[in-house]
Subunit: 344 residues, 2 copies
Amino acid sequence: MNKDKKPQENTILDIAEALKLSPATISRALNNHPHVKEKTKNDILKMAAQLGYRRNQMASGLRSNKTHTVGLIVPRISMFFHAEVITTIQNSLHKHGYNLIICQSNDLLTMEQELAEILYSSRVDALIVACTLQTTDFSHFNRLVDSGIPVIFYDRVPLDPYNATFIKGDDFRGGYLATSHLIETGCKRIAHISGKLTSNLYQDRTAGYRKAMELHQLPINEDWVFHQELTHENAREAMSIMFGGPVVPDALFAANDVTAIAALEFAKENGIVVPDALKMTGYSNDPRTSIISPSLSTIEQHPDLVGKKIVEVLMDLLKNGHENAELKAKPYVIPVDLIRRMSS
Amino acid sequence: MNKDKKPQENTILDIAEALKLSPATISRALNNHPHVKEKTKNDILKMAAQLGYRRNQMASGLRSNKTHTVGLIVPRISMFFHAEVITTIQNSLHKHGYNLIICQSNDLLTMEQELAEILYSSRVDALIVACTLQTTDFSHFNRLVDSGIPVIFYDRVPLDPYNATFIKGDDFRGGYLATSHLIETGCKRIAHISGKLTSNLYQDRTAGYRKAMELHQLPINEDWVFHQELTHENAREAMSIMFGGPVVPDALFAANDVTAIAALEFAKENGIVVPDALKMTGYSNDPRTSIISPSLSTIEQHPDLVGKKIVEVLMDLLKNGHENAELKAKPYVIPVDLIRRMSS
DNA sequence: CAATAAAATGAAAACGTTTTCAGTAATTTA
DNA sequence: TAAATTACTGAAAACGTTTTCATTTTATTG
């Protein structure tokens, strides 16, 4: 191993000196700027490799005001959907030569605000955000937006018109598909456990549910429509309320898989046979839904497509700046699909 | 919103000018350097807040050679264990004022090498790595180590003596616990599906298995010990080999949960009743293991403890430099626990 | 072959901090 | 009160790039 006193980094100046060229030329060659002779460029590249040169991102960033780093704020990376989206984003960004700083808000608004500040002062070139469920005010992103840093929202996106790009799944269609499917299998008394309506996700999924019911002229029992935090416990609670009554549902559309799984467990424990007595669908295609028995029907959100689209839009934004107003105007909607399994 | 032509960033110079002080003093105050008068410091802090000042990390990093950013290379963030570890790392680093750049190698050695290069040139202050299963040569990290950048390995760690800190689960004990448990429930013909022995993980888990068998004077049928890539398909293949023979195992210790789940599915499909005819344990406590029926016994690796320890060691390394040779000498081993469930 | 245009290179000034060294103000000591 | 400390502040030089503008070299044209 290197035993020199100073394992000094080789800089652009070292290359310049070795080749009797100016640092300016070296810089240009390294960024393959058009106006540098082919031969000199090759020489420079060769020498750079030989000296083990690595660009100092900080110096570069300081001067050019570009970090080649993108920030990401997400509620929790352990949520399957997000993990998949992140993976895709990361891999595609990598191809474009960008780094990704991933931050978790733990679904806490204060954390989200703090992270936005930090990423701002880290001078990320762009920011990708999946909001907290509580986020209804977006002023903590203003700083970024005002500074001309592209901010892209996905999945959980602003409800009010906000001057940023966003990419979302077709939650309305998802709700509609899930509910229609249950109706087609012959169910008439369809319950729905959903999240708080502060989030676009649940507004849309619920709207899809209502639309499907309406189209098939089925009445909605409002006692069977829940808007609550989608935890395991809340799901069991809702189930016990519904199945404690005189009339019980014959189907359940759960707005996420955690709830569906909890409901299924409750059913199994209480002798409610799924799918005979109760048919069910979840939402997100969490890996657990295919493992549990009976396996759960659910909605596939195509996290890979979401991730791809995010990067695609992002690169466009970074290249062409914000001139392209059209880009910001229209939200991108990623299609969803129903996955039929044993539970329905 | 700000409609000025230039929403210019306020710098340290703006604060200096506003307060008729020198930039040096501002810098000191902002880094609460001891030698600055309490009153001036307060003035400066107040003015900084008023001007909405945010330190420019790149300028700061360029000058001080510190980025306050830590790199992380991990095979896949969607693996439950890693997702949990990362979450803990991120949250604790955040408290210390550090950012985390998370990268996925997709379990590809070439990717790992490339990422190490990139993170090096991004000048991360430290690097945390969970290696690829194929990684047996670690020279791509030399560059970092030689430059004095702390490199910490966890989970999948170098086998050969390598000049870096590492933190691992007690895989030997995990293998031993799982196997002993199966033996205690009365099993005698215990099979073992494990990963390739190029990784410390499987070397140790297998060693634990062998030790337990030996201590209880049970013979090991080497046809029932598999070392293969731990995929769904391979697991089913192994099962079909074992259960195609004249004598069949009465227990299986699978070296990860994916394999255990696949094996359990195979058993269910082929009328092998778990746990009556076959008892099983997995490894990692993936959320799916508690959902599947029968629920799978497994080994809890305490990802939160792993994450905490990583950051603890890292901070020590960053503060005290590498002088503390003792730190590097001894590997940190995080305890594991057996979780008993219905499958055994 | 001169005149001009185009291509390739260089000199030097940024970018926003931190830090060394020196200097001034405030405090203590003799 | 002068001398010697100590506490605080400032001037200026870094850090390693990129970029503007000027300059030199090379190619093209009439």
